[in-house]
Symmetry: C2
Subunit: 158 residues, 2 copies
DNA sequence: TCCCATTGCATAGATTTCTAAGTAATTCCT
DNA sequence: AGGAATTACTTAGAAATCTATGCAATGGGA
Protein backbone atom coordinates (compact mmCIF):
# COMPACT_ATOMS: atom_id res chain seq x y z
CA UNK A 1 0.00 0.00 0.00
CA UNK A 2 1.36 3.41 -0.95
CA UNK A 3 2.09 6.04 1.72
CA UNK A 4 -0.76 8.46 2.50
CA UNK A 5 0.73 11.33 0.51
CA UNK A 6 1.03 9.24 -2.65
CA UNK A 7 -2.50 8.01 -2.24
CA UNK A 8 -3.78 11.53 -1.74
CA UNK A 9 -2.06 12.66 -4.91
CA UNK A 10 -3.46 9.78 -6.89
CA UNK A 11 -7.02 10.44 -5.71
CA UNK A 12 -6.52 14.12 -6.42
CA UNK A 13 -5.80 13.39 -10.07
CA UNK A 14 -8.27 10.58 -10.54
CA UNK A 15 -11.14 12.71 -9.38
CA UNK A 16 -11.52 16.11 -10.97
CA UNK A 17 -15.23 16.79 -11.25
CA UNK A 18 -16.28 19.51 -13.73
CA UNK A 19 -18.16 21.38 -11.01
CA UNK A 20 -14.82 22.24 -9.43
CA UNK A 21 -13.11 23.13 -12.67
CA UNK A 22 -13.12 26.82 -13.48
CA UNK A 23 -12.57 25.91 -17.09
CA UNK A 24 -15.78 23.94 -17.25
CA UNK A 25 -17.77 26.59 -15.46
CA UNK A 26 -16.46 29.22 -17.86
CA UNK A 27 -17.25 27.02 -20.85
CA UNK A 28 -20.83 26.46 -19.71
CA UNK A 29 -21.40 30.13 -19.10
CA UNK A 30 -19.89 31.02 -22.44
CA UNK A 31 -22.20 28.64 -24.25
CA UNK A 32 -25.22 30.03 -22.44
CA UNK A 33 -24.28 33.59 -23.41
CA UNK A 34 -23.61 32.61 -27.01
CA UNK A 35 -26.86 30.75 -27.37
CA UNK A 36 -28.95 33.66 -26.21
CA UNK A 37 -27.01 36.28 -28.14
CA UNK A 38 -27.35 34.28 -31.32
CA UNK A 39 -31.11 33.87 -30.88
CA UNK A 40 -31.65 37.55 -30.26
CA UNK A 41 -29.54 38.97 -33.08
CA UNK A 42 -30.58 36.55 -35.83
CA UNK A 43 -33.87 38.44 -36.31
CA UNK A 44 -31.77 41.48 -37.26
CA UNK A 45 -29.95 39.45 -39.91
CA UNK A 46 -26.74 39.58 -37.91
CA UNK A 47 -24.76 36.46 -37.08
CA UNK A 48 -22.66 35.93 -33.99
CA UNK A 49 -19.48 36.05 -36.09
CA UNK A 50 -20.42 39.49 -37.39
CA UNK A 51 -21.42 40.77 -33.98
CA UNK A 52 -17.89 41.10 -32.57
CA UNK A 53 -16.76 43.09 -35.59
CA UNK A 54 -19.78 45.35 -35.54
CA UNK A 55 -19.16 46.06 -31.91
CA UNK A 56 -15.65 47.31 -32.56
CA UNK A 57 -16.60 49.19 -35.74
CA UNK A 58 -19.40 51.05 -33.97
CA UNK A 59 -16.74 52.87 -32.01
CA UNK A 60 -13.83 52.64 -34.46
CA UNK A 61 -15.18 52.93 -37.97
CA UNK A 62 -12.61 52.83 -40.78
CA UNK A 63 -10.02 50.55 -39.18
CA UNK A 64 -7.84 48.39 -41.41
CA UNK A 65 -8.40 44.65 -41.40
CA UNK A 66 -5.29 44.01 -39.38
CA UNK A 67 -6.21 46.56 -36.70
CA UNK A 68 -9.70 45.14 -36.62
CA UNK A 69 -8.42 41.59 -36.15
CA UNK A 70 -6.28 42.70 -33.24
CA UNK A 71 -9.08 44.60 -31.53
CA UNK A 72 -11.61 41.82 -31.96
CA UNK A 73 -9.04 39.22 -30.95
CA UNK A 74 -9.47 36.99 -33.98
CA UNK A 75 -6.93 35.70 -36.46
CA UNK A 76 -6.86 37.46 -39.81
CA UNK A 77 -8.36 34.68 -41.91
CA UNK A 78 -11.33 34.70 -39.54
CA UNK A 79 -11.66 38.41 -40.12
CA UNK A 80 -11.57 37.91 -43.88
CA UNK A 81 -14.45 35.46 -43.67
CA UNK A 82 -16.52 37.59 -41.32
CA UNK A 83 -16.02 40.72 -43.42
CA UNK A 84 -16.93 38.90 -46.59
CA UNK A 85 -20.27 37.92 -45.10
CA UNK A 86 -20.78 41.41 -43.72
CA UNK A 87 -20.16 42.90 -47.14
CA UNK A 88 -22.69 40.51 -48.65
CA UNK A 89 -25.21 41.52 -46.00
CA UNK A 90 -24.66 45.20 -46.71
CA UNK A 91 -23.18 45.98 -43.30
CA UNK A 92 -19.80 47.26 -44.47
CA UNK A 93 -17.89 48.58 -47.44
CA UNK A 94 -14.23 47.79 -48.00
CA UNK A 95 -12.11 50.57 -49.40
CA UNK A 96 -8.54 50.08 -50.58
CA UNK A 97 -6.44 52.75 -48.89
CA UNK A 98 -4.89 55.28 -51.24
CA UNK A 99 -1.72 56.04 -49.31
CA UNK A 100 -0.91 52.33 -48.81
CA UNK A 101 -2.54 50.12 -51.38
CA UNK A 102 -2.04 47.00 -49.26
CA UNK A 103 -4.43 48.23 -46.62
CA UNK A 104 -8.19 47.86 -46.73
CA UNK A 105 -10.27 50.23 -44.68
CA UNK A 106 -13.49 48.80 -43.31
CA UNK A 107 -16.41 51.23 -43.26
CA UNK A 108 -19.86 50.74 -41.81
CA UNK A 109 -22.88 51.31 -44.02
CA UNK A 110 -25.80 53.44 -42.90
CA UNK A 111 -27.70 50.20 -42.30
CA UNK A 112 -25.06 48.98 -39.85
CA UNK A 113 -25.03 52.32 -38.07
CA UNK A 114 -28.80 52.25 -37.70
CA UNK A 115 -28.59 48.83 -36.01
CA UNK A 116 -26.18 50.04 -33.37
CA UNK A 117 -28.38 51.23 -30.55
CA UNK A 118 -30.87 48.44 -30.81
CA UNK A 119 -28.20 45.74 -30.86
CA UNK A 120 -26.23 47.26 -28.01
CA UNK A 121 -29.48 47.22 -26.04
CA UNK A 122 -29.80 43.51 -26.80
CA UNK A 123 -26.34 42.88 -25.38
CA UNK A 124 -27.05 44.91 -22.30
CA UNK A 125 -30.31 43.08 -21.69
CA UNK A 126 -28.57 39.72 -21.83
CA UNK A 127 -25.99 40.94 -19.36
CA UNK A 128 -28.74 42.13 -17.03
CA UNK A 129 -30.54 38.81 -17.30
CA UNK A 130 -27.35 36.93 -16.55
CA UNK A 131 -26.58 39.09 -13.54
CA UNK A 132 -30.10 39.04 -12.10
CA UNK A 133 -30.19 38.35 -8.39
CA UNK A 134 -26.44 38.53 -7.94
CA UNK A 135 -25.06 40.82 -5.28
CA UNK A 136 -23.20 43.87 -6.63
CA UNK A 137 -20.13 43.15 -4.54
CA UNK A 138 -20.03 39.53 -5.72
CA UNK A 139 -20.34 40.79 -9.26
CA UNK A 140 -17.44 43.18 -8.87
CA UNK A 141 -15.37 40.39 -7.37
CA UNK A 142 -16.40 38.08 -10.21
CA UNK A 143 -15.13 40.55 -12.80
CA UNK A 144 -11.79 40.89 -11.04
CA UNK A 145 -11.37 37.13 -10.70
CA UNK A 146 -12.25 36.21 -14.27
CA UNK A 147 -10.09 38.98 -15.69
CA UNK A 148 -7.24 37.73 -13.54
CA UNK A 149 -7.72 34.18 -14.79
CA UNK A 150 -7.61 35.36 -18.39
CA UNK A 151 -4.48 37.36 -17.67
CA UNK A 152 -2.87 34.38 -15.92
CA UNK A 153 -3.54 32.13 -18.88
CA UNK A 154 -2.51 34.70 -21.47
CA UNK A 155 0.93 34.88 -19.88
CA UNK A 156 1.53 31.19 -20.53
CA UNK A 157 3.10 30.26 -23.82
CA UNK A 158 2.74 26.49 -23.95
CA UNK B 1 -33.10 68.91 -24.47
CA UNK B 2 -34.43 65.65 -23.05
CA UNK B 3 -35.08 65.31 -19.32
CA UNK B 4 -32.18 63.89 -17.25
CA UNK B 5 -33.69 60.42 -17.00
CA UNK B 6 -34.06 60.08 -20.77
CA UNK B 7 -30.54 61.31 -21.33
CA UNK B 8 -29.19 58.89 -18.74
CA UNK B 9 -30.96 56.03 -20.47
CA UNK B 10 -29.62 57.03 -23.87
CA UNK B 11 -26.05 57.29 -22.61
CA UNK B 12 -26.48 54.03 -20.81
CA UNK B 13 -27.26 52.23 -24.05
CA UNK B 14 -24.84 54.11 -26.26
CA UNK B 15 -21.92 53.23 -24.05
CA UNK B 16 -21.50 49.62 -23.07
CA UNK B 17 -17.79 48.90 -22.89
CA UNK B 18 -16.73 45.23 -23.06
CA UNK B 19 -14.83 45.52 -19.78
CA UNK B 20 -18.15 45.88 -17.98
CA UNK B 21 -19.87 43.13 -19.89
CA UNK B 22 -19.86 39.77 -18.14
CA UNK B 23 -20.43 38.17 -21.52
CA UNK B 24 -17.22 39.58 -22.92
CA UNK B 25 -15.22 38.69 -19.84
CA UNK B 26 -16.53 35.14 -20.01
CA UNK B 27 -15.75 34.92 -23.71
CA UNK B 28 -12.18 36.08 -23.23
CA UNK B 29 -11.60 33.64 -20.40
CA UNK B 30 -13.13 30.83 -22.41
CA UNK B 31 -10.83 31.49 -25.33
CA UNK B 32 -7.80 31.56 -23.05
CA UNK B 33 -8.75 28.20 -21.52
CA UNK B 34 -9.42 26.66 -24.92
CA UNK B 35 -6.17 27.86 -26.41
CA UNK B 36 -4.07 26.35 -23.65
CA UNK B 37 -6.05 23.13 -23.44
CA UNK B 38 -5.72 22.61 -27.17
CA UNK B 39 -1.96 23.18 -27.11
CA UNK B 40 -1.43 20.76 -24.28
CA UNK B 41 -3.56 17.87 -25.51
CA UNK B 42 -2.55 17.95 -29.19
CA UNK B 43 0.74 16.16 -28.37
CA UNK B 44 -1.37 13.24 -27.15
CA UNK B 45 -3.22 13.11 -30.44
CA UNK B 46 -6.43 14.28 -28.80
CA UNK B 47 -8.39 17.23 -30.15
CA UNK B 48 -10.44 19.65 -28.12
CA UNK B 49 -13.64 18.25 -29.61
CA UNK B 50 -12.74 14.76 -28.42
CA UNK B 51 -11.69 15.96 -24.98
CA UNK B 52 -15.18 16.64 -23.63
CA UNK B 53 -16.38 13.21 -24.63
CA UNK B 54 -13.34 11.48 -23.21
CA UNK B 55 -13.89 13.27 -19.97
CA UNK B 56 -17.40 11.94 -19.61
CA UNK B 57 -16.53 8.46 -20.84
CA UNK B 58 -13.70 8.12 -18.34
CA UNK B 59 -16.31 8.04 -15.61
CA UNK B 60 -19.27 6.67 -17.60
CA UNK B 61 -17.99 4.15 -20.11
CA UNK B 62 -20.61 2.48 -22.26
CA UNK B 63 -23.17 5.28 -22.47
CA UNK B 64 -25.41 5.55 -25.51
CA UNK B 65 -24.83 8.40 -27.92
CA UNK B 66 -27.88 10.27 -26.72
CA UNK B 67 -26.92 10.00 -23.07
CA UNK B 68 -23.43 11.08 -23.98
CA UNK B 69 -24.71 14.12 -25.87
CA UNK B 70 -26.78 15.16 -22.90
CA UNK B 71 -23.94 14.77 -20.42
CA UNK B 72 -21.42 16.59 -22.58
CA UNK B 73 -23.96 19.25 -23.43
CA UNK B 74 -23.61 19.00 -27.19
CA UNK B 75 -26.20 18.43 -29.88
CA UNK B 76 -26.37 14.93 -31.29
CA UNK B 77 -24.93 15.66 -34.71
CA UNK B 78 -21.90 17.14 -32.96
CA UNK B 79 -21.57 13.91 -31.02
CA UNK B 80 -21.71 11.89 -34.21
CA UNK B 81 -18.84 13.87 -35.69
CA UNK B 82 -16.72 13.73 -32.55
CA UNK B 83 -17.27 10.00 -32.14
CA UNK B 84 -16.41 9.35 -35.76
CA UNK B 85 -13.04 11.00 -35.30
CA UNK B 86 -12.51 9.20 -32.00
CA UNK B 87 -13.21 5.89 -33.66
CA UNK B 88 -10.70 6.71 -36.40
CA UNK B 89 -8.13 7.62 -33.76
CA UNK B 90 -8.70 4.36 -31.93
CA UNK B 91 -10.10 5.96 -28.79
CA UNK B 92 -13.52 4.29 -28.82
CA UNK B 93 -15.50 1.39 -30.21
CA UNK B 94 -19.18 1.69 -31.06
CA UNK B 95 -21.34 -1.28 -30.32
CA UNK B 96 -24.94 -1.62 -31.45
CA UNK B 97 -27.00 -2.51 -28.39
CA UNK B 98 -28.64 -5.95 -28.52
CA UNK B 99 -31.76 -5.24 -26.47
CA UNK B 100 -32.53 -2.05 -28.44
CA UNK B 101 -30.98 -2.04 -31.88
CA UNK B 102 -31.45 1.71 -32.27
CA UNK B 103 -28.97 2.41 -29.51
CA UNK B 104 -25.22 2.56 -29.93
CA UNK B 105 -23.06 2.00 -26.89
CA UNK B 106 -19.80 3.92 -26.82
CA UNK B 107 -16.88 2.06 -25.28
CA UNK B 108 -13.39 3.31 -24.53
CA UNK B 109 -10.43 1.42 -25.93
CA UNK B 110 -7.47 0.47 -23.75
CA UNK B 111 -5.56 3.32 -25.38
CA UNK B 112 -8.15 5.88 -24.26
CA UNK B 113 -8.14 4.45 -20.75
CA UNK B 114 -4.37 4.70 -20.57
CA UNK B 115 -4.55 8.40 -21.47
CA UNK B 116 -6.91 9.17 -18.62
CA UNK B 117 -4.67 10.06 -15.73
CA UNK B 118 -2.19 12.03 -17.75
CA UNK B 119 -4.86 14.08 -19.48
CA UNK B 120 -6.80 14.75 -16.31
CA UNK B 121 -3.54 16.01 -14.84
CA UNK B 122 -3.24 18.38 -17.80
CA UNK B 123 -6.68 19.78 -17.09
CA UNK B 124 -5.94 20.18 -13.43
CA UNK B 125 -2.68 21.98 -14.15
CA UNK B 126 -4.43 24.48 -16.40
CA UNK B 127 -7.00 25.13 -13.70
CA UNK B 128 -4.25 25.69 -11.16
CA UNK B 129 -2.44 28.06 -13.49
CA UNK B 130 -5.64 30.00 -14.11
CA UNK B 131 -6.40 30.26 -10.40
CA UNK B 132 -2.86 31.20 -9.35
CA UNK B 133 -2.75 34.11 -6.94
CA UNK B 134 -6.51 34.25 -6.45
CA UNK B 135 -7.88 34.19 -2.92
CA UNK B 136 -9.73 30.99 -2.01
CA UNK B 137 -12.80 32.87 -0.86
CA UNK B 138 -12.90 34.92 -4.06
CA UNK B 139 -12.60 31.70 -6.00
CA UNK B 140 -15.49 30.10 -4.16
CA UNK B 141 -17.56 33.21 -4.76
CA UNK B 142 -16.55 33.18 -8.44
CA UNK B 143 -17.84 29.63 -8.85
CA UNK B 144 -21.15 30.50 -7.27
CA UNK B 145 -21.57 33.60 -9.40
CA UNK B 146 -20.71 32.05 -12.75
CA UNK B 147 -22.87 29.00 -12.06
CA UNK B 148 -25.73 31.33 -11.18
CA UNK B 149 -25.26 33.28 -14.41
CA UNK B 150 -25.37 30.08 -16.43
CA UNK B 151 -28.49 29.00 -14.58
CA UNK B 152 -30.10 32.40 -15.13
CA UNK B 153 -29.46 32.25 -18.86
CA UNK B 154 -30.48 28.63 -19.20
CA UNK B 155 -33.92 29.50 -17.84
CA UNK B 156 -34.54 31.92 -20.68
CA UNK B 157 -36.12 30.53 -23.80
CA UNK B 158 -35.74 33.33 -26.31
C1' DT C 1 18.41 51.62 -58.49
C1' DC C 2 17.36 47.07 -57.44
C1' DC C 3 16.84 43.19 -54.50
C1' DC C 4 14.92 41.38 -50.41
C1' DA C 5 12.65 41.51 -46.06
C1' DT C 6 8.43 43.11 -44.14
C1' DT C 7 3.66 44.12 -44.11
C1' DG C 8 -1.31 43.45 -45.20
C1' DC C 9 -4.49 40.63 -46.88
C1' DA C 10 -6.24 36.23 -49.03
C1' DT C 11 -6.64 31.26 -49.91
C1' DA C 12 -6.68 26.36 -48.54
C1' DG C 13 -7.91 22.99 -45.62
C1' DA C 14 -9.20 21.22 -41.03
C1' DT C 15 -12.08 21.27 -36.81
C1' DT C 16 -15.99 22.30 -34.00
C1' DT C 17 -20.38 23.45 -33.61
C1' DC C 18 -25.12 24.34 -34.87
C1' DT C 19 -30.20 23.68 -37.19
C1' DA C 20 -33.13 21.13 -40.15
C1' DA C 21 -34.46 17.18 -42.12
C1' DG C 22 -33.95 12.07 -42.97
C1' DT C 23 -33.98 6.89 -41.71
C1' DA C 24 -34.57 2.91 -38.97
C1' DA C 25 -36.08 0.55 -34.76
C1' DT C 26 -39.40 0.46 -31.10
C1' DT C 27 -43.61 1.22 -28.65
C1' DC C 28 -48.27 2.46 -28.05
C1' DC C 29 -53.13 2.56 -29.15
C1' DT C 30 -57.11 0.92 -31.13
C1' DA D 1 -52.13 -7.11 -35.54
C1' DG D 2 -51.32 -2.80 -37.90
C1' DG D 3 -50.64 2.02 -38.33
C1' DA D 4 -49.02 6.19 -35.82
C1' DA D 5 -46.07 8.31 -32.72
C1' DT D 6 -41.77 8.27 -30.53
C1' DT D 7 -36.94 7.38 -30.05
C1' DA D 8 -32.00 6.96 -31.53
C1' DC D 9 -29.01 8.01 -34.62
C1' DT D 10 -27.39 10.02 -39.20
C1' DT D 11 -26.87 13.14 -43.04
C1' DA D 12 -26.69 17.71 -45.14
C1' DG D 13 -25.40 22.13 -45.09
C1' DA D 14 -23.89 26.39 -42.90
C1' DA D 15 -21.01 29.17 -39.78
C1' DA D 16 -17.03 30.32 -37.00
C1' DT D 17 -12.69 29.46 -36.01
C1' DC D 18 -7.91 27.97 -36.38
C1' DT D 19 -2.88 26.95 -38.70
C1' DA D 20 -0.07 27.06 -42.66
C1' DT D 21 0.86 29.01 -46.82
C1' DG D 22 0.61 32.29 -50.80
C1' DC D 23 0.63 36.84 -53.12
C1' DA D 24 1.14 41.68 -53.79
C1' DA D 25 2.54 46.30 -52.20
C1' DT D 26 5.97 48.72 -49.58
C1' DG D 27 10.33 50.19 -47.81
C1' DG D 28 15.25 49.81 -46.54
C1' DG D 29 20.02 48.82 -47.53
C1' DA D 30 23.92 47.74 -50.69
Amino acid sequence: MPPPSAKAKSVRVLEFPPRLSSGYLVRDAHRAFQRLLERRITPYGVTRGQWYFLRVLWTHDGLSQRELSARVGMMEPTTVIALRSMERSGLIHRLRSDDDRRKVRVLLTAKAKRLRNELLAVARTITEEAEAGIDMRDLASFRRVIARMTANLDLIER
